[in-house]
């Protein structure tokens, strides 16, 4: 039995000094309405039972916690376990969130949902949930991302969603969010905005975290059941940060469990062409929240670069900023090249082709795992599978 519980949101959506609600006044009533609905249905047993049922029967939860023996032997050091979100329906953890939000939209009587997407996984997961509930769906996607994730564009259209190309700014995820927010400002009375990560104005960071926390709750129970103890470390990639937050959050009070987030180092931090927000950014306001941000001294948001469209974003969830400052989690980055090596490493050692996003976490495992003893354990959050990236990676990787 899987359940999604809602935790009380403290101090108006603030995580320390981060978070908040920096949006046009037009959206304030919609955010208040969403917060009220979320508090009501989050505590509603019938709603939770329905969501759990979809997560089990439709998405395939619980996902396995797999002991990766050959990867462990190859890396040397800690035993590596993999939380297999790549096995979920639609191929990534994103469906945990979109099913919850679309079910909420349905209960709120909204007939239309919109979403932004980078790699296309959140767009596909939103289009999937919208198709299942019979809601109209529009997905905003930067034209650069549409070119590198053609397969997902086709999947969204096949599912009945309209994919709206975004030509403004950097033509990637950041601008897709800008365009989705403009749509929401215009159509706020009829439309529910399904945000894909733990970013945006309150209550999104808390709501998405709660919906994704199923990853960590399952992993914690599975690991305890198998070993009788807790893992020593968790590692996951961080773009906006939803899969990392989903894995980390249920362990946050387990002081002995280290949490490591891995960001996209692109061509290297010193090149300036990367998306390592927590590693190299400074606090600022973007897309409704105060959080770490890649920006210039005048507060203009930087263009980012990553081989992985899903990590190619200059912001990050405000709760990660709080975890960074408080020291509860640590954040590092790996380059595009290292991520591609991680991509190949998991394929060759375990027969699992990961998405390029978690390939960053796999790459960092090569540094992290040898720093632990053989009787210690690390859980890797494998947020998605690599089908969508095979074509793109084949152009970048020598066979």
């Amino acid at each position: 039995m899987t359940t999604v519980r809602v935790r009380q949101v403290q101090q108006k959506g603030r995580f320390g000094k981060y978070g908040g609600r920096y949006v046009p006044e037009t959206l304030m009533p919609a955010l208040e309405e969403l917060e009220t609905a979320y508090e009501r249905y989050g505590a509603d047993q019938e709603f939770q039972a329905e969501l759990s049922d979809y997560l089990e029967q439709y998405c395939g939860r619980p996902t396995p916690l797999y002991h990766a023996r050959r990867l462990t032997d190859t890396l040397g050091g800690a035993r590596v376990y993999i939380k297999r979100e790549d096995l979920l329906h639609t191929g990534a953890h994103k469906i945990n969130n979109t099913l919850g939000q679309v079910l909420l939209a349905h209960r709120m009587g909204k007939r239309r949902v919109i979403a932004e997407t980078g790699a296309g996984q959140h767009g596909v997961a939103t289009a999937t949930a919208a198709a299942m509930f019979g809601l109209e769906c529009a997905v905003y996607m930067g034209t650069e991302d549409m070119a590198r994730q053609e397969l997902n564009v086709f999947r969204m259209r096949l599912l009945g969603a309209s994919v709206i190309p975004v030509e403004s700014g950097t033509k990637t995820l950041k601008d897709a969010i800008n365009e989705a927010m403009r749509d929401w400002v215009t159509n706020v009375r009829t439309t529910f905005y399904v945000i894909g990560s733990v970013v945006g104005p309150h209550p999104y960071p808390s709501m998405v975290r709660d919906l994704q926390s199923i990853i960590g709750r399952e992993a914690r129970a599975q690991f305890l059941h198998e070993t009788g103890r807790l893992p020593d470390c968790l590692v996951a990639c961080v773009g906006g940060g939803s899969n990392a937050m989903g894995l980390f959050y249920p362990f946050k009070d387990d002081a002995g469990v280290r949490m490591v987030g891995v960001e996209a180092g692109g061509h290297g931090i010193s090149s300036g062409q990367h998306a390592a927000t927590l590693v190299a950014g400074a606090p600022g306001v973007l897309h409704g929240a105060y959080s770490y941000l890649l920006q210039d001294s005048g507060g203009q948001v930087h263009a980012t670069h990553s081989v992985s469209a899903g990590l190619d974003y200059p912001g990050v969830g405000p709760e990660h900023s709080y975890f960074k400052d408080s020291g509860r989690a640590e954040y590092f980055s790996v380059t595009d090249q290292e991520a591609l090596e991680g991509f190949r490493l998991l394929a060759r050692t375990e027969g699992i082709i990961p998405a390029l996003e978690p390939a960053h976490a796999i790459a960092y495992l090569r540094i992290l795992a040898p720093t632990f003893r053989a009787d210690q354990s690390i859980i890797l959050g494998l947020s998605g599978r690599g089908d969508k990236d095979v074509q793109h990676a084949s152009r970048l990787l020598a066979p």
Binding site: N178, M181, R182, R189, H287, S297, G298
Partner: protein, 217 residues
């Protein structure tokens, strides 16, 4: 009395509406912007709104987005725009209001911004992504330097939101005429009069209807 209060006082006594033109500062360059501001002033604008370019203007339509991108490509900064206002003050006597997203002001430093803006001759600031709920720090800095913080209200605003805005607003209330991004409309929607009445019932401040057009009130 502030320049903004004086202008609205005069307009009220003449039973005349305010004409508030908007221009993105630095598009295509600062010299042109200065000439435009001087021309608007001599052609009878009652108040001049000057846009500060931002990389991610979520409340703006394509026309203003492109203007902001051109200004940023020309390397225009907030400090440059304050310099522009300082120069314009040699012959522009109308109130000047900056319209900026929050992050450029936050990175400039709230106290520094309010102080330098006021001494450059800026009378007020409109920040589309800063609702009153998040404005406490800016309000404190603005109050001590005498800068008006102008908030927005929208057709979606509930009475709770109208109260939240009117409690903190100064200068005037910026009433967004439609749900939507900026851009010129052919006509005002019918529910706007009702919204203006609801706002005026709660505040003595002038109410301006905007996002593309400005009308009486």
């Amino acid at each position: 009395m502030s320049r903004i209060a004086a202008v609205f006082g005069k307009l009220r006594s003449q039973r005349r509406s305010a004409l508030i033109p908007f221009v993105v500062a630095g598009d295509p360059d600062l010299e042109t912007s200065l000439k435009i501001v001087q021309a608007l002033s001599s052609e009878g604008a009652d108040l001049i709104e000057l846009g500060v370019p931002f990389s991610d203007p979520i409340a703006d339509g394509p026309v203003n987005q492109r203007a902001a991108q051109r200004a940023l490509a020309a390397g225009v900064s907030l400090a440059d725009i304050l310099g522009l206002v300082r120069k314009a003050r040699a012959d522009v006597h109308q109130p000047i209001v900056l319209l900026s997203y929050y992050n450029p002001i936050l990175q400039y430093g709230l106290t520094r911004f309010c102080g330098e803006a006021t001494s450059a001759g800026v009378d007020g600031v409109v920040i589309p992504d800063l609702p009153p709920d998040e404005s406490e720090e800016l309000m404190a800095a603005a109050r001590s330097s005498g800068l008006d913080v102008i908030f927005l209200l929208a057709p979606t605003s509930t009475s709770g939101r109208i109260d939240a805005v009117t409690e903190r607003a100064s200068g005037f209330i910026y009433c967004v005429s439609l749900t939507g991004v900026t851009g010129v409309r052919d006509r005002l929607p019918d529910d706007i009069r009702d919204l203006v009445q609801r706002i005026k019932a709660r505040t003595p401040l002038p109410v301006c209807v905007g996002f593309g057009i400005s009308t009486p009130e």
